[in-house]
């Protein structure tokens, strides 16, 4: 790493780097941690550079050690501020986000179907689904009719992109709002459960039997009317512990998972602290349930 100091082997990098304004410290007063933190948080660069060397060359730091001390201050400051801000996000935001994500996905698929129908009459090689719409959106329309189809395909792309953004937002915020639920159920499933229950508090107040069938209300009410067997699981079916367990044991798996999810929701609402013990107990229980299948074969 000392090679960079001599300049020679890195001529290209140095020439560009000598006045690289992308550096988080570019133009900053060495003592201004507040401004430095802001730059760490909001800045960007197309590519990395030998920042420590640059900092010394441009007199931001007296030495590499000095630079790293300043960087430590700035990153600690920036990350602490960002963490505090993010943790104030509430469960209500999460509910909105997961519903919006589902809306975007559903609508994207719906319009993609329309696009496919229409595009099939105009283009030979129109693809299907959202991916097909993505290809179509890249086309240059030749006629006013084609322009409408391509424009519609662009709407599909926008909606699909927004669904991905919403998913990323949920993955980021669910662990802050509900650390135990997110760890146990995955961030998106945690958000779905909170949405179905109508909030973290009401989820925390539900018995595990209710959590087990959240999202299977139709089947549950059919059962209660005496027309169907009781549902074994609701949205928690998407969890690997349920879906990945053989069908005979899925009821047990769903019951075990729902039990721990109920405990996790209460921990999240009343204490707000992550407790790895819940996950460990569930893992143990799942191992027992899955061992049943192994023994019979």
């Amino acid at each position: 790493m000392d090679v960079a100091l001599t300049g020679e082997p890195f001529t290209e990098g140095r020439a560009r780097g000598a006045m690289n304004d992308d550096a988080w410290f570019a133009g900053l007063d060495p003592g201004d941690t507040e401004a430095a933190a802001e730059r760490v948080r909001d800045g960007s660069a197309a590519a990395p550079d030998e920042w420590p060397t640059l900092a010394v060359d441009t007199d931001f730091a007296e030495s590499e050690a000095d630079y790293y001390d300043a960087l430590h201050d700035a990153t600690m400051h920036a990350t602490r501020a960002a963490v505090q801000k993010a943790e104030r996000a509430g469960d209500r935001q999460l509910v909105h986000a997961v519903r919006a994500m589902d809306d975007c996905e559903r609508t994207a698929n719906e319009i993609a179907e329309r696009v496919q129908e229409w595009a099939g009459s105009l283009f030979e090689d129109a693809g299907t689904g959202v991916d097909g719409a993505r290809e179509l959106a890249e086309r240059d329309p030749a006629t006013p009719t084609e322009r409408r189809v391509v424009a519609l395909a662009e709407r599909v792309v926008d909606l699909d992109d927004e669904a991905e953004e919403l998913r990323a937002y949920i993955e980021r915020t669910a662990p802050e709002v509900a650390p135990n639920l997110a760890a146990l159920a995955s961030p998106v499933l945690a958000a779905r459960l909170i949405a179905l229950a109508g909030g973290l508090e009401s989820l925390a107040k539900k018995p595990s039997g209710t959590i087990q069938v959240l999202g299977a209300e139709d089947a549950l009410f059919a059962h209660l009317r005496g027309r169907a067997p009781s549902p074994k699981h609701g949205v928690i079916f998407t969890h690997e512990y349920v879906r990945g367990t053989r069908p005979e044991d899925r009821g047990s798996a769903a019951r075990a998972l729902a039990g721990k999810l109920a405990i996790a929701a209460r921990g999240d609402h009343y204490r707000g602290e992550y407790n790895p013990e819940i996950e460990r107990q569930l893992e143990e229980r799942m191992a027992t349930i899955r061992a049943r299948g192994d023994g019979n074969e």
Binding site: M1, W51, Y68, A78, A82, A86, E87, G244
Partner: protein, 209 residues
């Protein structure tokens, strides 16, 4: 078994020889005479060392750590490596990462999305080693996107988690697909399953193409 990096040793804890580094304890791990046990069951990099993979670490390297989470593993890395950049996407674990970084002046916590390297390229310098442990879909794509940080003779040490890509697929198929993607940017040096420490995880050592 390949050699351990300088600053990592096997030390006795309650009668068992375990991997250990020297530093402030972070997550309630056992300590003895200034050394803290490095639990391979809680750390994929620890498991890669434990299974004898050729990680090529000597100690003192510049490291970019993707998916630092609460700082369990990255705290050990910072104990034996040089400047260590820890990228974590979620705020909650990043809070604990801050605690680990507080006593380690060359550990730099960054609340950033590893899928968007341009959002931290203005802070992170070119590094000798990228350690990757992100549990999202598209793990190989994350490694590829971050190849820009790796020196020509640097190394990627990645743990690929099968369940993060597709819970229904066979882990073997998932790993094959991930390796194929990695080969766009890297030369694969060695791979090994991380059982019994981590189920359905593949340890990967690779160098840039």
């Amino acid at each position: 078994m390949s050699e351990l990096p300088e600053g990592v040793e096997r030390r006795p804890f309650d009668g068992d020889d375990r991997l250990a580094t020297r530093g402030e304890p972070v997550y309630g791990e056992p300590t003895a005479a200034g050394w803290r046990a490095w639990d391979a069951r809680r750390s994929k990099l620890g498991a890669m060392l434990e299974t004898g993979m050729d990680v090529g670490l000597a100690g003192g390297e510049r490291v970019l750590y993707l998916g630092a989470a609460s700082g369990t593993t990255v705290s050990h890395v910072a104990d034996f490596a040089g400047p260590t950049y820890a990228v974590e996407f979620a705020a909650r674990p990043a809070r604990d990462l801050l605690d680990a970084a507080a006593s380690r002046p060359r550990l730099f916590p960054l609340l950033k999305d590893a899928r968007k390297p341009e959002t931290y390229a203005h802070v992170v310098e070119p590094v000798d080693v990228i350690v990757q442990d992100v549990a999202t879909r598209g793990q190989a794509a994350v490694a590829n996107a971050n190849a820009t940080f790796l020196d020509d003779d640097g190394r990627l040490l990645a743990a690929i988690k099968a369940r993060s890509e597709d819970v229904t697929a066979e882990p073997g198929d998932v790993f094959e697909a991930a390796l194929a993607t990695l080969e766009e940017q890297y030369e694969i040096v060695e791979t090994a399953r991380l059982e019994p420490f981590h189920e359905d995880h593949l340890g990967v050592v690779a160098t840039p193409r």
